[in-house]
């Protein structure tokens, strides 16, 4: 499916997510990297060892969701921008996603934004909670976006709203 469309279907992305119980109990990293490509920086990114070590460089990344605390250090390391963090329970009625971002303009805390799904559709409005920088990936950012909870499975990117 995804080889024809370029985005994961709901069945495909659901299989990357942890079960409902884990989703409800705090932030967690989700990796959408279904192909055996020769790439492994993610396995060394996690200080808690939640991303299981690769045997071969073409192995698929696998997260131990129980070890993962959703800190997001892995997000900025992934060259394919394939990792994001989802915190389903953030505030009443709201979830939080942490996504990699390398576009201009870089939004600021408090900015509103459009929420985009995996196929690029605008599915709602979000709020920028935080903009993180990393010493090892100076130009990339990780954005923390507050989103309506009902969008927590579809939200995957943002578009800055020009006001």
């Amino acid at each position: 499916m995804y080889k024809n469309t370029g985005y994961l279907s709901s069945q495909e992305y659901s299989s990357c997510m942890p079960d409902e119980e884990r989703m409800n109990s705090g932030a967690v990293a989700i990796i959408e990297c279904p192909e055996h490509i020769p790439c492994n920086p993610c396995q060394e990114a996690c200080s808690r060892g939640a991303i299981q070590p690769f045997e071969k460089i073409t192995d698929l990344p696998v997260i131990d969701f129980e070890r993962c605390n959703g800190c997001g250090n892995c997000i900025a390391v992934c060259p394919g921008l394939a990792i994001y963090v989802l915190q389903k329970e953030y505030e009443p009625g709201f979830s939080l996603i942490k996504i990699p971002y390398e576009m201009l303009p870089i939004p600021q805390k408090g900015d509103r934004c459009d929420i985009l799904s995996r196929d690029g559709s605008v599915i709602g409005q979000g709020l920028v909670e935080r903009v993180q920088k990393y010493s090892f990936n100076l130009k990339g950012r990780v954005l923390w976006i507050k989103i309506p909870k009902e969008l927590h499975r579809e939200a995957r990117n943002i578009r800055v709203v020009n006001e």
Binding site: I37, C39, G120
Partner: protein, 364 residues
């Protein structure tokens, strides 16, 4: 001018630079020829983080890798670099390679061993008016945007959904240039899913089984006619549609720049999986002419990480043949060979492995 060296390296992209690094600060006299004014080849245009493993600079942006690779070469006193210098041809009766510096100064270069790391050139696509200004190879779009900060246009249609088509589309969006769509003749997207996912999240549609039939414009491109293809790659009559665009970017594949090989009478073969005509070689990257080695895209279209690894392997092989290889060199070669095999081992590597089987022979 007459120049004498032990090792001549043609091309200072990732393959050539990694090969040169093997000889840095040894007694081997090396000359590196580069037709561009700068070193680094295609790396300098790449703004994205590289894949692979940390030994191949995974997570580092391409243009930063270019800087890292060239520094030790620039510092080494035994390596002379000629930029703006084209390798024009090898004269076997006289035993020198003719190089032209700055379009005017001629050099006759005598050497013992030569590495051809000349890279590749972009393929074009056949359709009416495919020569209009505004129609570029993907590399040209990257050069304009990422090296010189010039926008190639305002509204781009990308042809080809291999890694280059997907990555350059992403880079165009980063530069603030709108990409209307990506068209792909095959039924599936050619490049890595993660690259495709990035551009889909940026609202760029990807139309598979679609190609460009004709371009329109008087002095430069104004629009194109797209057409759908059926399961047998045939145009579906009635499916033509016009799309305006001022820029068409052709990311339809690369072809190895193999011309110099014939001057050495190296055996070559046309291998579609490797992009075109490539030299027969052994696992030491040595051709049928024993003094000629190849590395990088000229050996077969692949990636920058493969180019770097092949450059190391070829460099050490040359060092071995000159009798100066150290144990440290040999372990670099072993590690590089293992990495290369590991990188090519997955399903993504099927095409390369199948192509290499046709030209890699230990008896060469």
């Amino acid at each position: 001018m007459k120049q004498i060296c032990d090792v001549l390296i043609v091309g200072a992209g990732p393959a050539g630079l990694c090969a040169a690094s093997i000889f840095a600060n040894t007694d081997v006299q090396v000359i590196v020829l580069e037709r561009d004014p700068f070193l680094g080849g295609q790396l300098l245009k790449q703004t994205h983080m590289f894949f692979g493993s940390k030994e191949q600079y995974a997570g580092t942006r391409g243009f930063e890798i270019g800087t890292l690779l060239k520094e030790p070469i620039l510092q080494a006193k035994n390596i002379r670099i000629f930029t703006n210098t084209v390798a024009a041809g090898f004269y076997p009766e006289d035993g020198f390679l003719l190089a032209i510096e700055n379009d005017q100064e001629l050099h006759r270069i005598y050497f013992k061993k030569i590495l051809l790391a000349t890279g590749a050139s972009e393929k074009a696509l056949s359709f009416e008016n495919n020569d209009l200004p505004g129609i570029f190879g993907a590399g040209a779009v990257q050069t304009l945007m990422n090296m010189y900060g010039v926008a190639p246009g305002k509204e781009v249609i990308m042809v080809g959904s291999g890694n280059i088509g997907l990555i350059v589309s992403y880079q165009l969006m980063q530069a603030g240039i709108s990409v209307k769509c990506i068209v792909e003749a095959a039924p599936v997207i050619g490049g890595y899913f993660v690259h495709a996912a990035k551009v889909r999240r940026l609202q760029i549609p990807i139309y598979t089984q679609t190609t460009v039939r004709k371009a329109f414009g008087t002095e430069s491109l104004e629009g194109v006619e797209l057409i759908s293809l059926d399961a047998h790659w045939q145009e579906i009559a009635g499916s033509e549609r016009y799309e305006t665009c001022d820029t068409l970017c052709l990311a339809v594949g690369l072809s190895p720049l193999s011309e110099l090989l014939s001057h050495f009478q190296c055996e070559t073969q046309y291998v579609p999986e490797l992009g075109g005509s490539v030299a027969l070689r052994n696992q030491r990257m040595q051709c049928t002419h024993k003094d000629v080695f190849i590395a990088g895209d000229v050996a077969g279209i692949e990636e920058a990480s493969s180019a770097m690894l092949e450059g190391m392997i070829a460099g050490v092989s040359i060092a071995e043949d000159l009798g100066i290889a150290t144990p440290s060199h040999k372990s670099i070669k072993e590690e590089s060979t293992q990495f290369l095999q590991a990188m090519r081992s997955g399903p993504i590597g099927d095409k390369i492995r199948s192509g290499l089987r046709k030209v890699e022979d230990s008896h060469v």
